[in-house]
C-alpha cells in the first residue's frame, strides 16, 4: 500500500545514487517538482528513462544528475532543441552522457514488457533504419507460426518510476486523466514508485478517460500542487507555453542555465 509522505522524504528514501529512474509524462503531467527534488538532493549517476525528455530532463542532465539516458525523442516540443542535453552529448558537459536510443514504439513496448512481467516485446519497427544494428537493445525474433521476422526489444524494469497525477485518495489510490501516456506501464514495470499529485481527495470519483492506479502498486504518494508546472495538469492548470519558449534562451548558455537553477531550484524548498 502506498504511504503518503512528503516529496522530500519520498525521494530521500526511494531514490539512490546509481538507480535507473523512469520519469514519465507525455507532454502532460510531467513530474517537474520531483525532478527538482532529485537535483536538490544531489542524486548522481542515475540512468534516466523517458520517451520524451524535455525541460526537466534538460535540467537534470545539465546539473549532472545522470550518467545515462534511455529515450526516444529529446527536444523542447514546438520550440526546438534541448541545449543542456545537446551540450552533454556534443561536448560532455557537465559530464559525459551515455545514450540508449529507441523509437517511441520501441521504448513504449519496453515499458509494456516490463509491466507485463515478460523479458521482451515484439513489434514491427526499426527495419531499414540506422537504429537497428547500432542499438544493442534492438534484436529480432522469428514468428514460430509464419516465419516472419519482427523486432524484439528487452523489457525495461526501472528501480523507480516517478509520475505526476491529478488526484489520490487517503489510501493512496491514484487517478489521472487526459493524456496519460505510458505512466501506468512505467509504474507497473518499476520496483518502486513515487506519485506526486495535485490534491488528495476524500474519494476518487472515476472520470471519463480516468486511469486508476491502486494504492497497492504504488510505494509513495506526495501531495505537490502545481507539481507538473510548467507542464500542465488537465482540470487544474494549463501548459505555460511562454516558459517553454523562454527555456530556449535560459538554457542556451551554461551560465544563464546555472544561474536559473540556483535561483529557481536549488534555493527553493521542496
Amino acid at each position: 500500500m502506498a504511504e503518503i509522505v512528503s516529496l522530500r522524504d519520498a525521494v530521500a528514501e526511494l531514490v539512490a545514487d546509481g538507480d535507473t529512474v523512469a520519469m514519465e509524462g507525455f507532454s502532460h503531467l510531467i513530474p517537474h517538482a520531483a525532478g527538482h527534488e532529485l537535483i536538490r538532493q544531489g542524486r548522481r549517476h542515475l540512468t534516466l528513462v523517458r520517451l520524451t525528455p524535455d525541460l526537466v530532463f534538460d535540467q537534470l542532465i545539465g546539473m549532472g544528475v545522470a550518467d545515462k539516458l534511455v529515450f526516444s525523442w529529446g527536444g523542447n516540443p514546438g520550440v526546438g532543441s534541448l541545449h543542456r542535453f545537446r551540450d552533454a552529448i556534443e561536448n560532455g558537459w557537465p559530464t559525459p552522457l551515455k545514450i540508449e536510443e529507441h523509437s517511441h514504439a520501441g521504448l513504449t513496448n519496453r515499458f509494456v514488457a516490463g509491466a507485463s512481467g515478460l523479458p521482451f516485446a515484439i513489434l514491427r519497427a526499426y527495419a531499414g533504419t540506422g537504429l537497428a544494428g547500432r542499438v544493442a537493445s534492438i534484436k529480432s525474433v522469428q514468428c514460430p507460426f509464419t516465419g516472419e521476422t519482427l523486432a524484439a526489444v528487452p523489457a525495461i524494469n526501472p528501480d523507480v518510476a516517478i509520475i505526476h497525477a491529478q488526484q489520490a485518495d487517503a489510501h493512496g489510490n491514484v487517478q489521472m486523466w487526459g493524456i496519460t501516456g505510458v505512466q501506468k506501464e512505467a509504474v507497473l514495470a518499476s520496483s518502486r514508485s513515487i506519485v506526486t499529485v495535485e490534491e488528495i481527495v476524500e474519494r476518487i470519483e472515476l472520470r471519463p478517460g480516468g486511469v486508476v492506479l491502486p494504492s497497492w502498486v504504488i510505494t509513495a504518494v506526495a501531495q505537490v500542487p502545481g507539481g507538473a508546472r510548467p507542464s500542465y495538469a488537465s482540470g487544474y492548470y494549463e501548459r505555460d507555453n511562454t516558459f517553454y519558449s523562454e527555456w530556449e534562451g535560459i538554457s542556451r548558455s551554461r551560465d544563464t542555465f546555472i544561474a536559473w537553477m540556483q535561483r529557481n531550484v536549488l534555493g527553493v524548498g521542496a
Binding site: W73, L123, R124, I179
Partner: protein, 266 residues
C-alpha cells in the same frame, strides 16, 4: 472558412514560401482520410485541411488523441486541446500497437532535418553518431509512421543542408536503397507519396523510386530547386505549377497560426 479580417481581398494575395508549403500540403489531404500527424508543419497543414476542404479528416496524434479537432494549432503533440476535442484518448502503447502498427492509418505526415534521394529521413544527428556536430531530437514516432501508414507525405524546407545524399543517419525509411527495399524489409505501407517543400513538390519515380521534381510553387525556377538540392535532382518532363494560395486558404492558415500565438500566452 472565413478569411482573415486583416487581409485585404485581392486576386493574388501575397504569401510566404512557408505558407505556400503548408497550403500545398493541406490540399493533398482528402476528406474522411485518417491521418497520423507529427507536430509542427505537418500539424499546421493537417489542421488547415480540416478547417477548409476536409472537415471530416481524422487526425491522430502519437500522444494518444484519436480524432482530435483542435480549434487552435497545438504547440506540442500532447496539448490539452487535442485531448479535450478528441473522439478518444488512448495510452501511448495503444496508439502505437493497436492504431499505427497494423497499417490502418491512411496517411503519415512527417517532417525531418534531412532527406535523401529515396526519401529516407534523418532526425537523429548531424555529423557522426558517436560525436555529433548537432544532436537532433531523435526518432520519436517517425520510423514506425514511415513504415506502417498506407502512404506517407513529407514536409521539409528544401536547401543544401536538408536535401543531402547520403544522410548522416537514417532514422526513418522512405524507399531505402531504391526499388524493392521496402518489400525486402517486410514493410506494409507503400512509403512516401510526395515530398512537399517550400519550393515545390517531389514524387518518387514509379520505377527508380528516386524523388523527382514534379511541381514548382509560384515564382520558383527549376534552377532554384536544383540549386537547393544536394544531389543531381531529377525533374519530370512536364513540370506542373502549383496554384497560388487562395484568399480563403491564406486567411484560414493565418487565423490558425495567430490563434496558436494567443493560446501560448495562456
Amino acid at each position: 472558412m472565413t478569411a482573415s479580417r486583416n487581409h485585404v481581398s485581392t486576386a493574388s494575395p501575397k504569401f510566404t514560401t512557408s505558407e505556400m508549403m503548408s497550403i500545398a500540403a493541406a490540399r493533398e489531404l482528402r476528406d474522411g482520410q485518417v491521418c497520423f500527424v507529427g507536430i509542427g508543419a505537418p500539424s499546421t497543414a493537417a489542421n488547415l485541411a480540416r478547417a477548409t476542404h476536409a472537415p471530416g479528416l481524422v487526425l491522430i496524434y502519437e500522444s494518444g488523441c484519436i480524432g482530435a479537432k483542435p480549434a487552435s494549432l497545438p504547440l506540442s503533440i500532447g496539448d490539452g486541446e487535442l485531448a479535450r476535442t478528441a473522439d478518444a484518448v488512448v495510452s501511448v502503447p495503444e496508439i502505437f500497437n493497436y492504431w499505427l502498427q497494423p497499417g490502418r492509418i491512411d496517411i503519415g505526415f512527417l517532417g525531418a532535418a534531412q532527406i535523401d534521394r529515396f526519401a529516407n529521413l534523418n532526425t537523429t544527428v548531424i555529423g557522426p553518431y558517436e560525436r555529433p556536430g548537432v544532436r537532433l531530437p531523435g526518432a520519436g514516432g517517425a520510423p514506425e509512421i514511415a513504415a506502417s501508414c498506407k502512404e506517407v507525405v513529407i514536409m521539409i524546407k528544401q536547401n543544401r543542408h536538408s536535401f543531402v545524399d547520403p544522410l548522416d543517419f537514417r532514422t526513418s525509411i522512405g524507399f531505402g536503397d531504391g526499388p524493392g527495399s521496402r518489400e525486402r524489409l517486410g514493410l506494409r505501407g507503400k512509403g512516401p507519396r510526395m515530398v512537399i517543400t517550400d519550393l515545390g513538390i517531389l514524387r518518387p519515380d514509379p520505377k527508380s523510386c528516386e524523388l523527382t521534381l514534379t511541381d514548382l510553387h509560384p515564382g520558383v525556377s527549376v534552377d532554384a530547386a536544383r540549386e537547393a538540392t544536394g544531389w543531381a535532382l531529377a525533374v519530370a518532363p512536364e513540370l506542373k505549377r502549383t496554384s497560388a494560395p487562395t484568399e480563403a486558404e491564406l486567411g484560414e492558415l493565418r487565423r490558425l497560426v495567430s490563434m496558436r500565438a494567443e493560446g501560448s500566452t495562456k
